[in-house]
């Protein structure tokens, strides 16, 4: 781990993670808008979550639910305009990213927190060798010499299971297969020994057999804190300690992975789980399908965004957006009906 002290000491974090430890990565009340031709799209609405050291938090949700926008905005990687972060706070090991200068931010990104993306081909610069790109970060953040950085690059490629790392380190991104490139991207992200790894659908474009290799690799880094964005509930089931479910720019449920899968409380989470075909379903019942579509982010209703598609909706759901409330220990849902059920059973 890096021994450099944090650049600025942000306000002491007052909240602990649900497991009662001081979080390593914390997003608090984040709000992000995009200017579009149709109007202002509220892509991220009061999103907050935290990740403990060594923990893996999965963020699940469908296209346009705000998963990627949340993470990109948190790391200040979204172009402004068209995006605008209108509120919130993001702490990496106590350092408030929103209070840093651009230069200070560059020192944190890649050193304390790094990111892997879905499309490894566009994440690499096509005209630089893989080794050069892995070296770049560690030379900057850890002050290694060219020679040391090259040796580390080879070591990292070997660790993530790229065959012939001595030879691969001098190759260009297009010379690697998709699975190998994805490994190289993970090597690049981990070379700086970050405290937090943010992974945005890093296995979605891969074949299942290669995906299984990558998941096994990620699981082998047990001390790493991970935020894993995915729409694949199977991947999440095998990887996450906790799960946050997003819908129309808000987290509508979060809790421990087993509770989310076995005892989901929000009607959207329940429907989402029911819509996945199961390999062990012998009867082949029709899948649960959620009628309709998510609301437009440009014109979000004042109440619950899931109202129009919900099978337990009530009139009160129209008046205001339900807040995330405890429905079980360490388990929250943003639903009036779920909150009432939790109270009567408590």
């Amino acid at each position: 781990m890096s021994t450099t002290p944090p650049l600025t000491t942000g306000p002491e974090t007052t909240t602990l993670t649900p497991t009662g430890v001081k979080p390593i990565f914390e997003v608090d009340d984040l709000q992000v808008e995009f200017r579009t031709n149709a109007g202002v799209a509220k892509a991220v609405n009061h999103v907050g979550f935290s990740v403990a050291p060594g923990e893996c938090l999965a963020i699940v949700g469908e296209s346009g639910s705000g998963k990627t926008a949340t993470l990109l905005a948190a790391l200040r990687l979204l172009p402004t305009p068209p995006s605008r972060t209108t509120g919130g706070r993001v702490l990496v090991d106590g350092v408030d990213l929103f209070s840093l200068s651009r230069k200070e931010l560059r020192d944190v990104l890649g050193r304390d927190i790094s990111m892997v993306f879905q499309d490894s081909l566009s994440a690499f610069n096509p005209i630089l060798t893989v080794g050069r790109q892995i070296s770049e970060g560690v030379r900057r953040h850890r002050g290694l010499s060219k020679k040391q950085a090259r040796a580390l690059s080879i070591e990292m490629l070997e660790r993530v299971g790229v065959p012939d790392p001595q030879q691969r380190v001098d190759q260009y991104p297009h010379q690697l297969s998709g699975g190998m490139r994805q490994r190289a991207m993970i090597a690049m992200a981990l070379a700086g020994e970050p405290k937090v790894l943010i992974a945005d659908e890093p296995t979605t474009a891969l074949d299942v057999t290669v995906q299984a290799q990558i998941l096994e690799l990620v699981r082998s880094f047990q001390d790493l804190s991970i935020v894993w964005v995915s729409h694949d509930l199977g991947v999440v089931a095998g990887l996450a300690d906790r799960v946050a479910v997003m819908y129309a720019g808000s987290i509508i449920e979060q809790g421990p992975v087993r509770e989310i899968f076995h005892d989901p409380r929000h009607p959207y989470t329940r429907a989402l789980l029911g819509s996945v075909p199961r390999l062990r379903d012998p009867d082949r019942n029709d899948l649960v399908s959620i009628p309709g579509l998510p609301p437009s982010l440009v014109d979000l209703p004042p109440g619950c965004p899931f109202y129009a598609r919900c099978d337990v909706r009530e009139d009160r759901c129209l008046s205001r957006m339900p807040e995330l409330v405890d429905v079980a220990p360490r388990h929250q849902a943003a639903c009036f009906v779920a909150a009432d059920e939790a109270r009567t059973h408590a």
Binding site: V208, Q213, V236, F261, S275, S289
Partner: protein, 339 residues
Amino acid sequence: MPDALLEVTDLAVHFNAKAGARGGSGVVKAVDGLDFSIGHGETVGVVGESGCGKSTTGLAIQGLVKATAGSIMLDGVDLTKLKNRQVRAARRRTQMVFQDPTSSLNMRMTVGQIVAEPLLVHETLPKAQHRERVAELLGLVGMPESALDRYPHEFSGGQRQRIGIARALAVEPDLIICDEPTAALDVSIRAQVLNLFRELQRERDLSYLFISHDLSAVHHISDRILVMYLGRPMELASRDTVYNDPQHPYTVALMSAVPIPDPDVERNRKHVLLKGDVPSPLNPPSGCVFRTRCPLAQDICATDKPEFRDVGTDGEKHMVACHFAQPGMAELVASKAAQ
């Protein structure tokens, strides 16, 4: 199966590859030695990794790429031997639904024109009745009649896929070739489309060739599943046999790689991990094409090409291309892979 709707025998589709930046030239055997059939009202799923030839198989049946060898019999007529006029007539009986509903619908045509186009091409109905027929087709796939005069961009991905399905249904085909029809859709929308496929099948005795890398979707919708690797068939059997009693090590690895959306199951099962990537199709391994990644590979696998043979019992046909095909393959592969 004497009453099969479609009978594919020893199908090969080869492409000439020119020397490129990656080097190497020669013949890519995208599909080679493929045998399978589809019965009336049956769904056959085709699974495999990128480049295994599953899409090429679909295109060859639809006549969109030329078969290099072999035959494709549709109700006793060999589609590979037809002349131009006959091709058109035969194509009416097979229709395709594509992966990307955005690029497979012409954005300058109204939904009504898109769905009516097969009717125009095949002249199955007087033009005056087209509008009425299109409205009926849209109703079948759960779209409002008001969609007729609107354009594809006005609809969501799931709705566009429904439009694509309505177009495929227009000329009342016997077989619909679905090439990754749900890959571009979100899970909740994917469920709607999968349910629609099954509902249409129940109502009209349709047959499907369902090509997908999404194994859970294929398992859900298929009666039988064909597993392909590097253009060759590896295994073909009923969906339950392929899942519960696969006899090809590749099928075992493929099934094991599909994550199961249940944390208790997913964390406690052993994954069979394949090493490396699929070899280049320009230079496939000798003998069994899977041997370079197979945990059971022996010397014979490099020298002798395994036959695609029937190992089924109890009257069920169960085709496998492996020298070591045997019941209990999943346990065998798991114990070998653990060593």
